[in-house]
C-alpha cells in the first residue's frame, strides 16, 4: 500500500498484525505518529484503576448474592426493575430477601454438599441457601440448633439474618431470630463468630451466649447447653432431646392454620394462594399472627406480580401496625413499588419512613430509593 491508510484502516492495522496497511504504517512518519497515539492512549487508559474494594464490601456483596433465591425461579418477577436502574434492583432483592418461607418444623435437614445439620425449634422460618464451599442458612424467625462438621480448608458455614450473621468452624450452637433480626446465639461447643447489626464481630466459645445490646424483652434461647462433645457427629443424644417438638396441631386456631397454609403456599411459590391464606390469617388470627399475616400477604402479592394490590396491602399493614418491627421493611418495599409506578412523592414518603430502621439493609434500601428519586429528577 503506497497511500496512507485511513484512520479506520489504521485502527484495524494496529490491532491486526497481519494487516497489509501495517507495513506501510510502520514505515510512514505520519502513520507511525498515529500508531504512537493509539499506544499512548492504551497505556494511559489502562493505568486508570478504581480505588480498591474493601474486603468487607466485597464480602457483603458476595453474601447478598449467595442468599438470593436461584435466579431461575425469580426471573419472571424482575424485568422492569432491572431495566430501570441498579438501585431499583435493591427493591426486588428486598422483596426476595424478606420473602423466604420457613423450613420444616422440628425437623432435621441434612442436604447434599452441606456440612451443617439444622434442627428447627417449633415453627422456625429458615431456608437452606448455598451449599459448600460457602454454606449459608437464611434464618428469618425462630430458633435453630445447628451442628457443623469440621470444615475443610476454604469451606465456610454461616447463618445469616437481615441484620447479622453467625459464622462457625466445626461446632454446634443455637441461633435465634425475631422478625428477621438476630437476637440470640449460644454456643454448645466449638467457636463461633457473630457479626451484629453494626458490623461488629463477637467471638464466642463453648457455653457463651450473645444477645444484641438493646433487646426489648428476654429472649428464650433454648435449653441449657449439654456437656461439650469432642466428635461433633453424629448429633449428640442430649441435644436431640432438647429440640422442642413441633407445635401441637389440635391447639392451633383457624387463623394460625391459615397462616401455616400461607407459608406452605409461599414456599411452593404459589403466591396467589399464599396471599389468600395470609388474608384469612390476618382476619382470624390472634394479634401477632394477624400482624405477621398482614405483612406476608403484601409480600406474597408483590411476589405474584400484583403491584397495585401489594401496595394497598403494605399500606393497610402500615396503617394497622405502625410500630411493627417490620414497619421499616414494609415501608421500603412499598417505596420501591411506588417508585416503579412513578409515584415519586409517595415513594419518597415511604423511603423516608424507613431510613432510620434498625437494620442496615433496610436503611440502605431506603437511602438508595431516595437517591433513585433524586436521579429521576423528582
Amino acid at each position: 500500500m503506497n497511500r496512507c491508510p485511513s484512520g479506520i484502516e489504521l485502527e484495524r492495522a494496529y490491532w491486526t498484525p497481519s494487516d497489509a496497511a501495517r507495513v506501510h504504517a510502520l514505515a510512514c512518519a505520519r502513520c507511525t505518529a498515529e500508531l504512537a497515539e493509539i499506544q499512548s492512549l492504551i497505556a494511559a487508559g489502562r493505568a486508570i484503576e478504581p480505588s480498591p474494594q474493601s474486603a468487607d464490601r466485597r464480602e457483603e456483596i458476595r453474601t447478598t448474592l449467595l442468599v438470593r433465591r436461584p435466579a431461575a425461579k425469580v426471573e419472571r418477577r424482575l424485568p422492569r426493575w432491572w431495566q430501570l436502574a441498579p438501585v431499583a434492583a435493591a427493591a426486588a432483592a428486598a422483596i426476595l430477601w424478606f420473602a423466604w418461607p420457613r423450613g420444616e418444623s422440628g425437623t432435621q435437614e441434612v442436604a447434599e454438599g452441606r456440612r451443617g445439620t439444622v434442627m428447627a425449634h417449633g415453627d422456625a422460618h429458615y431456608m437452606l441457601m448455598s451449599p459448600q464451599p460457602d454454606e449459608i442458612v437464611r434464618l428469618v424467625d425462630g430458633t435453630l440448633t445447628v451442628q457443623v462438621q469440621p470444615l475443610a480448608r476454604g469451606e465456610r458455614f454461616r447463618v445469616v439474618t437481615a441484620d447479622g450473621e453467625v459464622e462457625v468452624v466445626g461446632t454446634a450452637f443455637d441461633v435465634t431470630a425475631e422478625a428477621d433480626r438476630l437476637v440470640a446465639v449460644r454456643v454448645i461447643h466449638g467457636v463461633v463468630r457473630v457479626r451484629d447489626a453494626g458490623g461488629q464481630l463477637h467471638v464466642l466459645e463453648a457455653g457463651q451466649a450473645w444477645r444484641p445490646a438493646a433487646t426489648r424483652e428476654p429472649v428464650l434461647i433454648g435449653p441449657p447447653a449439654p456437656e461439650p462433645v469432642v466428635d461433633p457427629q453424629p448429633v449428640p443424644r442430649q441435644m436431640q432431646k432438647q429440640i422442642d417438638p413441633p407445635p401441637a396441631a389440635p391447639g392451633r386456631s383457624d387463623g394460625q392454620r391459615a397462616f401455616d397454609d400461607g407459608w406452605n403456599a409461599l414456599r411452593a411459590e404459589r403466591f396467589d394462594e399464599a396471599a389468600s391464606a395470609f388474608a384469612r390469617a390476618a382476619q382470624n388470627g390472634p394479634g401477632r399472627v394477624a400482624e405477621d399475616a398482614g405483612y406476608w400477604q403484601a409480600v406474597a402479592l408483590a411476589r405474584a406480580g400484583h403491584s397495585a394490590k401489594a401496595a394497598r396491602a403494605f399500606d393497610s399493614f402500615l396503617a394497622a401496625w405502625p410500630s411493627s418491627t417490620r414497619a421499616g421493611e414494609a415501608s421500603a418495599m412499598l417505596g420501591w413499588i411506588l417508585f416503579d409506578a412513578r409515584d415519586y412523592q409517595g415513594a419518597a414518603r415511604r423511603f423516608r419512613a424507613a431510613v432510620k430502621d434498625p437494620a442496615a439493609r433496610v436503611r440502605k434500601s431506603a437511602a438508595d430509593g431516595l437517591n433513585a428519586i433524586r436521579q429521576a429528577g423528582r
Binding site: 485511513s6 484512520g7 479506520i8 484502516e9 489504521l10 485502527e11 484495524r12 490491532w15 491486526t16 505518529a33 497515539e37 493509539i38 499512548s40 492512549l41 492504551i42 494511559a44 487508559g45 489502562r46 493505568a47 486508570i48 484503576e49 478504581p50 480505588s51 474494594q53 464490601r57 466485597r58 456483596i61 458476595r62 447478598t64 448474592l65 449467595l66 442468599v67 438470593r68 433465591r69 436461584p70 435466579a71 431461575a72 425461579k73 426471573e75 424482575l78 432491572w82 431495566q83 430501570l84 436502574a85 441498579p86 438501585v87 434492583a89 435493591a90 432483592a93 447434599e112 454438599g113 441457601m129 448455598s130 451449599p131 459448600q132 464451599p133 460457602d134 476454604g154 438508595d368 436521579q375
Partner: protein, 195 residues
C-alpha cells in the same frame, strides 16, 4: 440453552470448575457457582465498570452487585462463543449503559474530575500525572455510549475487535470505525494528539 451443559449441583470445590461450567451451573440456579464466578472475576468486572461508568465507589459497588445478580438469568443465553470474562463484560455493559444514560450524570462526573486535589507530599510530576489521568478519564466518560464501549473493551480491556463485534452485535468494521471516532473525540477533548 441446548448449548449449555446442564449441571444440577456444584460438587466438590467450585473453584476448580472451568468458567464455562460455572456459567452453566449458574443457569440452573446454583448459587455456589455464582459465588465462585464472583470470586474469580469481581476485580475485572469492577475495573471494567469503573472505566465504563466512571462512577464513585458506592455506585460502582452497586453496579458490581447488579451485574452479578443478572448473571444467573443471562447465563441461560450464554452460548460459549466468547470467553466468559468477555461475556461478563457484556452483562456489565448492559447494566452500566442504563446507569450512565443520563447525560447530566456524566457531565457532573466530568466536572468532578476537573476538581484537582493535591495531596501532601506529591511532587509536581505526580500532580501533573494525576491531572492528566483525570482529564483522560473524564474525556472517556464523556464519550457517547457506543464509542465508549468499543474504546474500553478494545483499548483498555484488550479484547480482540472481532470478539467485541460479536459481543455488541455489530460488524467488525464498525468497531474499527468507532475506535477511530473515539480517538478523534478524545484528541479533541484533550486538546491535541495524545500524549
Amino acid at each position: 440453552m441446548s448449548r449449555v451443559i446442564p449441571i444440577r449441583r456444584v460438587g466438590g470445590d467450585a473453584s476448580e470448575m472451568s468458567d464455562e461450567s460455572l456459567v452453566a451451573a449458574c443457569a440452573t440456579g446454583e448459587n455456589a457457582a455464582l459465588g465462585a464466578l464472583y470470586d474469580r472475576h469481581v476485580d475485572a468486572v469492577r475495573r471494567f465498570l469503573a472505566r465504563m461508568s466512571g462512577t464513585d465507589d458506592r455506585d460502582l459497588d452497586d453496579l458490581v452487585q447488579a451485574t452479578f445478580e443478572t448473571v444467573p438469568r443471562a447465563a441461560r443465553r450464554f452460548g460459549g462463543d466468547s470467553q466468559v470474562r468477555t461475556w461478563l463484560f457484556g452483562v456489565a455493559n448492559n447494566v452500566a449503559r442504563h446507569h450512565v444514560r443520563s447525560e447530566v450524570r456524566r457531565k457532573r462526573l466530568a466536572s468532578a474530575f476537573a476538581e484537582e486535589r493535591r495531596e501532601a507530599g506529591d511532587t509536581g510530576a505526580e500532580v501533573m500525572e494525576r491531572e492528566r489521568a483525570q482529564r483522560l478519564q473524564a474525556a472517556i466518560a464523556a464519550l457517547p455510549d457506543k464509542l465508549r464501549e468499543a474504546f474500553v473493551l478494545v483499548y483498555l480491556e484488550g479484547i480482540a475487535g472481532g470478539e467485541v463485534a460479536k459481543l455488541l452485535g455489530v460488524r467488525e468494521g464498525t468497531i474499527w470505525k468507532r475506535l477511530f471516532q473515539a480517538r478523534a473525540r478524545l484528541r479533541e477533548s484533550l486538546g491535541g494528539v495524545y500524549p
